[in-house]
Subunit: 222 residues, 2 copies
Amino acid sequence: MIKLVLSDIDGTITDGRRVLSSSASEQIRKVQEKGVAVSLVSGNVIPVMYTFRTYLGLKAPLFAENGGAMIDEKITQFFTMDKPLAFFRYLEKNGLARGIMTNQWRLCSMGFDLLGPFDGEISDLSARYDVEITDSGFSWHILNVGQNKGFALHYLMEKYGLRPEEVLVIGDNMNDIPMFVDGVRKAVPANAEEELKKRADYVARSGHGNGTAEILSSLESF
Amino acid sequence: MIKLVLSDIDGTITDGRRVLSSSASEQIRKVQEKGVAVSLVSGNVIPVMYTFRTYLGLKAPLFAENGGAMIDEKITQFFTMDKPLAFFRYLEKNGLARGIMTNQWRLCSMGFDLLGPFDGEISDLSARYDVEITDSGFSWHILNVGQNKGFALHYLMEKYGLRPEEVLVIGDNMNDIPMFVDGVRKAVPANAEEELKKRADYVARSGHGNGTAEILSSLESF
């Protein structure tokens, strides 16, 4: 029986233009009312997760910056800004990247828009700076090594004392892969990338938030 | 014909527990799709308004800190933090108030929880510090003089070049009164305070977000 749902936000509980899905929001609330913990994890910042927690009425902690920071009644920071900021400054100085608005609220990652095509050089450089880079579909993120959605998953499993088969993860994008681990139940909306569909136990008929609503409305089948 | 809707958030497009109303959100999007500008104004902070703007897909600027700061593609700050912070420090030092989580993201106001009953003394003191205090229903706010929802209303009317009768304001709480000005159309959900109901052109049959959805679905009648 599923006791925890951990879901991505962008493309998963939104539509393709990033607008929050009413059907997904309502299913999230219904699932929580049944006593299942519902958490969200995103590359976005703590005050954005504060807003989701407040205005969706969620009780579980939510994770910002791909798992690097957590909000419940207080804010917990698991990683530091040193390495992401150093790499961001390098990219900026060399005209390769431009910061995004949410950077002013970041604790342990930096977001950027690429100022040219993505090439292997940036990837090689990130290793030298001991950071990882991911593409959320809306912007690029610079993260500490190990700062990913799998970190959030394991934190919650330990907090609630859960076995993998009691957890359902939902995502659509390559940066959701670290929470698609063995034993955990995995579901994806129809817009998910192929690699996620391959690993999923269930692929929804609908895309985006409607697909996630479909998944959540049949939670007992997982 | 209404060309701009300016609405409060808490209690107005949420339910009584502050959870976002799906019916109000959907009507907001429908109204915007008809070409009407939709803006929100709240005592909450810029990154919370960033979240509403992004995840409701709103195009107009939104206002944080009761009108003191604005977000569209960038952030604009109309007031400073000096006076609110000075008064907050006084209250805190004297054991009268405790800060709230969102203060770390504030630009020109402070939020607090009262540590005792509200008495006239605090009100008298606020005048000496040249600030105003309001109760949002969720926490108290310290604001600069003139920093209120009427400021946001006038900014938008000037930006879009609107006459008062082309604007509909929606709110439920005393801190919405500064936008309930002469000539502007005013509507309130059924949970609104009596003073607002008295001034309103229309009182919805339903309360909270459902009442606001009802108002927005008959926009052509204003």
